[in-house]
Structure formats: C-alpha cells, structure tokens
C-alpha cells in the first residue's frame, strides 16, 4: 500500500475531491482524473473523542480505548481531509499544526512531528 491518499481532480474546473469523486461538487461535470494527494498538511480543526464509540462498528484497539483526536487536515491541494490525528499532547494540534500522513487505512491518519519522533505514529497502519 502506497503511503498517499488517492483523490480526484475535475478536468473542467480543477476542484480536488477526496475520496475520488464521480462528479464534481463545484461545477457538476463528471470528467474527473485520479490524483495522489500531498502527504503533508496542517490541522484545520479537531476535537477529542473522549469516550469509546459504540462497538460495533468501532473496533477497540488492543490494550483498550484511549481518547484520540479527530479532525481535518488541510492539504496543499486545498481540500481538507478528515483524519485521526496522532500526537503526544492534544495541545500540539492547536494553531494550524503541521502534520504528516502516516496511514491511509482504515481511515486517513496524520501525526505531529512530536508523535513521529516518539515513534507513536503509524502503529495502526
């Protein structure tokens, strides 16, 4: 599995979508090309999931539930992608924090520099 997210770009207006779209939300045309999205972005907004979501469908990680951050990462293409956010402290995510893609499945996952340095990131990929 390549470590990038696959989206699409509208051949008519250039709008970028994730995941790859059949039709363009901006102009309504259907002529779309696939596009590998940039792997570095900034945190646009986030919250913390403080309680374990209902299972199923949630799959509790080995070792049990721990609160995790979820939010949107603004990529160089302009699209903001929903992702699980890895960090050593939730405050790291404030203020357009730079983050790097560390996994694409089951959902996009990005990590702060501190999380990558601590070796936390990508464990679930």
């Amino acid at each position: 599995m390549g470590r990038s997210l696959t989206g699409s770009r509208c051949r008519h207006c250039g709008n970028v979508a994730f995941p790859a779209a059949r039709g363009c939300q901006s102009c309504g045309r259907s002529d779309q090309e696939t596009l590998e999205l940039g792997t570095r972005g900034t945190v646009w907004g986030y919250t913390v999931q403080r309680f374990a979501p209902k299972s199923p469908p949630y799959v509790v990680p080995e070792g049990g539930f721990v609160p995790f951050a979820v939010g949107y990462v603004e990529l160089p293409e302009g699209v903001k992608v929903e992702a699980v956010l890895e960090c050593t402290d939730f405050a790291e995510l404030d203020g357009a924090a730079p983050v790097t893609l560390v996994a694409t499945q089951p959902v996009p996952r990005f990590a702060t520099e501190a999380a990558r340095a601590a070796g936390l990131a990508g464990a679930a990929s």
Partner: protein, 381 residues
C-alpha cells in the same frame, strides 16, 4: 411572498420520555392539539405532509385520523424534516392547490439512539471501525475551530446551555425542567472538546404539528400568525457537514443556514435586526452561537459580548430558544423544526405564559439538519 399564507394552528405532544406512547401516538397528540388550536377538524384538512426519522411513515396516521382521501406525502429530511414538511404545506397554499394544509413531524428515539452506518453515508466501513461515525464529533470540530478563530470562551458555551435549562424550567411542556448552573455544565463530563455532556441535546420524544391556511381562511378563523417569509435550502459547494470525509474548496466553508435565512428574510422583506424572538437550532451550545451569526443576527465573535450581556435571554434584545430549545426539549428529529414554529406562534400571540417575550411582533425560526439542509421562517403578528 406572493399569495399570503398564515399559520392558523400549532400543537405539540408532550416532549420527553413517555414509555406508554408510541411515536405515532405523539404525532396524533400533536395533530389533535394543532387542529383544536385552529378550531378545525381533520376533515377540513385538504393536503398533508409529514415525517419522522425513525418512528414510521406519517401517511399511515390516516388510519387513526380518518380516511378522507387527501394527498398525504411522507417527508424524510433528517433534522429538517419538520421544516421541509412545512415548506411543502406552505407551497400547497401558495399554489392554490389547497386552502388548509397540515405539516406534522414526530419521533421517539430511545436513549443513546442514532447509530449511523457508514454505507448509508457513502463511506467505507473503515470509518465505523476507526470510530469516526460519531455525529457529535462534527459539531465539536466546527465550534472548536470557530471558538479559536472568533474568541468564544468555554464560559459562553456553558452560558448558552444554562439559558436553555432555565427557559425549559419556565416551559411546562419541556423535558428538562431543572435549572443547571453554568459551573455544573462546564464541569460535566467532556464529550468532545470543548463540549461537555450538559451542552448537548439528547435523542428524545415528541410530536409537533402546524396548520397553514390561505388568508381568506385565516381571516375567518382569527388568531392567525402571518408567514412573512419561508425558505429551505440544501448545501452549496464548500460546506462542512457531518460525516464528510473531506471539506472541498479553499477558504471558509459555505453555510446552508446562512443561505436559507437570507432567502427567508428577503422573501419577508424583513431584516434580522427587526426580529423580536428567535428559535435557532441548538443541537449543542456551540450550534446556537454559530447560528446567531450564520442567520445574520450578529457578526462572528460578537456572541461573546452579546451572551455576557444577556441579550439572548428572555427580556434581552433578542431572546433565543425561549422554550428551552433542543437542549431542554430533547431532539425528536422529525418534530424539532415544527416545535420551533409552535414556540414562535405562541410568543407572537402573547400566550407563552412565564416565558413570554413582551410585545413580540416578529419572530424567526431556523432548523438545520444533516447533511446540510436548512429551513427558516419569518413570522409576524
């Protein structure tokens, strides 16, 4: 607005847990209350629209109302179900197809309801496995970003919920009738930062119905409230909604609430500063704060001072959610949009008792639903 449309009756079932009643019972209670309020019988209704999110089809209600043969269309538009049903009823009057039309919304959600499935939202199963099919994450991410950008404090988030419970205590039909202090709200369990447990509404139970009519019928019945303007919209490009795998476009997300509110105000020939009392979708505290700006009642960030000054309280410049809103009444998805209209009708008639806004002449309702639907009305005495 072209042909005049009036609200001639509005009714609610009891809201909150009612183990002895089905969702359909709540709808029938609301319809009976609305018809009695109008001084009409079911046999007077010429067309009907309605729905629930999870409590069955509205058109089956005719089995208990009477088989009069009228067109009855089911509506399913998430939290905007009631608003969409009302728009359809209004359009039936405007078109001349009917002189008396009914809109009804109802639901009976068990505790902890709302189990969205990824496949129903066009998402891979992984979103459920990873814990992202949690509706409330969306509201928290939106207000968290908004609060940082526009200086909304956690104290203000708590104050909005405190007002909801205080207004609920004044409303005999509300579910939550015990005041809760801002301190207790702020100190309750953090659900999704910055929102705590007591800042959220809960899945609830209730029914609401509204009877609309032509001006000729309204003149005959009396006590009518004029529908000065109404509009419903779906999201435009660039919006940020629940369960969005991405937000497309650059810059600030678009707002369907802003679009629907602006269209309703334009149709009414009214500006937001003329509104005396408003009902705004308050899924949680942050939603009420952001909807104040999206609907045109203030600029971004002004809410912090507005709320601190008590401007949205009963007795303030713009009382908001005088019946306690979704936070105190619960969220029966199909019913909430029409509950809002019921409250404004009650306020404009001067029949709101302990929670009456003195001299209210123009009111506004705003409902917002997933994934990006809004319906707004401007009502006048």
């Amino acid at each position: 607005m072209s042909a005049g449309v009036s609200i001639v009756g509005a009714g609610l079932s009891k809201f909150g847990r009612q183990p002895d009643k089905t969702g359909r019972d709540l709808a029938l209670d609301a319809i009976a209350a609305a018809l009695a309020d109008a001084g009409l019988a079911w046999t007077d209704v010429q067309v009907a629209f309605g729905g629930s999110d999870g409590s069955g089809l509205a058109d089956t209600l005719v089995a208990d109302l009477g088989l009069t043969g009228i067109p009855f269309t089911n509506v399913k538009n998430g939290c905007a179900t009631g608003g969409s049903a009302l728009m359809s009823a209004v359009n039936a009057i405007r078109s001349g197809a009917a002189e008396i039309a009914l809109a009804v919304g109802f639901d009976k959600h068990p505790r902890g309801a709302f189990d969205p499935r990824p496949e129903d939202w066009g998402l891979p199963a992984g979103y459920g496995e990873a814990g992202l099919m949690v509706t409330t994450q969306f509201f928290a991410i939106k207000i968290a970003r908004y609060a940082r950008e526009h200086g909304i404090s956690r104290r203000t988030l708590a104050a909005v919920a405190e007002k909801a419970y205080r207004n609920g205590a004044l409303n005999p039909n509300a579910w939550r009738r015990d005041p809760i202090s801002a301190e207790e709200i702020a100190a309750s369990d953090m659900v999704h930062d910055p929102l705590t447990r007591f800042m959220f509404c809960s899945p609830g139970e209730g029914g609401a119905a509204v009877v609309v009519a032509s001006e000729a019928v309204a003149a005959r019945l009396g006590r009518a409230v004029s529908l000065l303007g109404a509009a419903s919209r779906t999201r435009r490009f660039g919006s940020f909604e629940v369960f969005s795998p991405s937000i497309q476009g650059s810059g600030r997300p678009s707002s369907v609430s802003a679009d629907a509110a602006a269209a309703a105000f334009a149709a009414a020939g009214v500006t937001p500063d003329e509104v005396d009392v408003a009902q705004l979708q308050d899924t949680e505290s942050g939603a009420e704060i952001m909807h104040l700006a999206e609907c045109g009642f203030c600029k971004d960030g002004e809410q912090e001072a507005m709320i601190a000054a008590g401007e949205t309280e009963i007795g303030g410049r713009l009382p908001v959610n005088t019946d306690g809103g979704c936070i105190a009444n619960g969220e029966p998805i199909g019913a909430s949009g029409l509950r809002q209209v019921h409250e404004i009708v009650t306020q404009l008639r001067g029949e709101a008792g302990a929670r009456q806004v003195a001299g209210a002449r123009i009111g506004f309702t705003h409902v917002y639903g997933a994934p990006g639907i809004s319906a707004c009305t401007v009502l006048g005495r």
